[in-house]
């Protein structure tokens, strides 16, 4: 096999040329923390949490975008690496609201997981930015820019999976933010609420509104299901609590196909014990409608059950 041999934490492995250090480590069951990486999205290399030490190199390269090379000797948890990761987490926490006690994302948050893993109890840094206001302008997604760590996953998911390009980076340097076009709200934008962005967000910056108040993440028994409403097979979670399905959460899109709102709503209707009333976007804003109307089944319903 044409490939390269390298050593990671004293274990030897041979991988095809072009494999990243992150992927090679995964083969060896070595978990390298990542915030901005997602194998379904284009490589970005921005959060720098996945940095590793490569013998003979001055810098610590990011494992998610650095290809494995012949003879490389990689250390994934060396003192320099751990210092860098701790510092990066501390830097991210400096401007992050530490309201994990009540954050819906608690228990399912990568930032929290890694702070725990690297023993970051508090940050030595002071926040440098004012809190950004919450965007609660639509019934499906809560956008909380204050919790955003600018990993850019939502931007790539919106552009690359959905092809919608609603979310984008804006401004630069310390002023960088992720915003809907012209810095308006998600409600005013062309967002179709597919939740691909919510599914990839590693923190509580983008949240599913249906889940709010339904329970803590560790109370749920998530069950993985494939959406049956078209041939693509997107992936969802049924969230069970005390035996009842309380919500359906977006898992991930099937390759080459974005998740759709209709699929998720239909699954909610089928599986949830108490499905919420759906809403539709009209010129005047969001309006509550019947399930038949939300799913576009009026004509069919009219034929099946003529009045």
């Amino acid at each position: 096999m044409p490939g390269v041999s390298l050593t990671i934490n004293d274990q030897k492995i041979r991988v095809p040329a072009g494999t990243t250090i992150l992927e090679a480590a995964k083969e060896l069951n070595i978990a390298i923390p990542t915030l901005c990486h997602d194998k379904r999205l284009s490589p970005f290399g921005a959060c720098r949490l996945c940095v590793v030490e490569v013998q003979g190199r001055k810098n610590l390269p990011a494992a998610c975008v650095t290809p494995a090379e012949e003879g490389m000797n990689v250390l994934t948890e060396s003192p320099a690496v751990v210092e860098a990761r701790r510092t990066i987490i501390e830097l991210l926490l400096a401007n992050h609201p530490l309201d994990c006690l009540t954050c819906e994302k608690s228990g399912n948050c990568r930032l929290q997981d890694y702070a725990y893993r690297y023993g970051v109890k508090k940050t030595p840094f002071e926040g440098t930015r004012d809190p950004l206001p919450l965007d609660d302008s639509n019934p499906f997604i809560i956008r909380d820019p204050h919790k955003c760590i600018l990993c850019g996953k939502c931007v790539r998911a919106c552009q690359e999976i959905r092809g919608q390009a609603v979310l984008g980076f804006a401004f630069r340097g310390p002023a960088t933010r992720i915003v809907p076009p012209l810095d308006t709200s998600l409600g005013e934008s062309d967002c179709v609420f597919c939740q691909n962005c919510v599914a990839v967000c590693p923190t509580g910056a983008l949240r599913d509104k249906y889940l709010a108040g339904k329970g803590r993440w560790w109370e749920f028994q998530p069950e993985s299901v494939t959406c049956p409403f078209c041939a693509n097979g997107c992936h969802f979670y049924l969230l069970r609590k005390g035996g009842k399905v309380v919500a359906v959460a977006a898992g991930g899109a099937a390759p080459g196909r974005p998740m759709c709102l209709r699929g998720r709503l239909a699954l909610t209707l089928i599986f949830c014990e108490e499905p919420p009333q759906p809403q539709i976007k009209t010129e005047k804003g969001f309006a509550a409608v019947s399930w038949t109307e939300a799913l576009g089944l009026e004509e069919l319903a009219g034929k099946l059950w003529p009045k």
Partner: protein, 150 residues
């Protein structure tokens, strides 16, 4: 206004690959700034998502989403100017015009913009107004220079 101007500008760059930045530059040149309607027109004419246009506009210091003054004052904040008292010049202008860096006077006469370096370091401290460069500045020279621009 914009729609027709922008269509012409976009047409001028049709042959060029990746021409979003030149198109934005030409539009700003024509309109003085980049209002939201112009960004929407450009996105439509170039078949680009509006988010892409907005993200590019907000990245570069040259682009402005708000109307600007008739005269733009660039005060150099480069190393050489800094060492030779560039911030005193900036403070003097702020004091005289009663505006902060990046702001425009209410009568749209001046916009004040500190810049990283004008590349005239040997004349430090330096500023430029509407493209005219002034070097070897002292705070008491500012009022007289501003007077020339109405």
């Amino acid at each position: 206004m914009p729609a027709e101007t922008i269509k012409q500008i976009v047409a001028r760059y049709r042959e060029e690959k990746g021409a979003l930045i030149p198109v934005l530059q030409a539009t700003q040149e024509a309109l003085g700034y980049l209002p939201p309607e112009a960004l929407k027109e450009i996105a439509a004419a170039m078949a680009l998502p509006l988010s892409t246009v907005y993200s590019v506009v907000t990245f570069y210091a040259q682009f402005h989403l708000q109307p600007r003054g008739r005269h733009v004052i660039h005060v150099c904040q480069g190393t050489a100017c800094h060492i030779r008292g560039g911030n005193h010049i900036l403070n003097k202008i702020k004091e005289l015009l009663q505006i902060d860096a990046g702001e425009t006077t209410p009568d749209l006469r001046f916009t004040l913009e500190p810049v990283a370096c004008l590349g005239a370091c040997a004349l430090a401290p330096v500023m430029s107004i509407s493209g005219d460069t002034y070097g070897h500045l002292k705070p008491d020279m500012i009022a007289g220079i501003l007077e020339k621009y109405q």
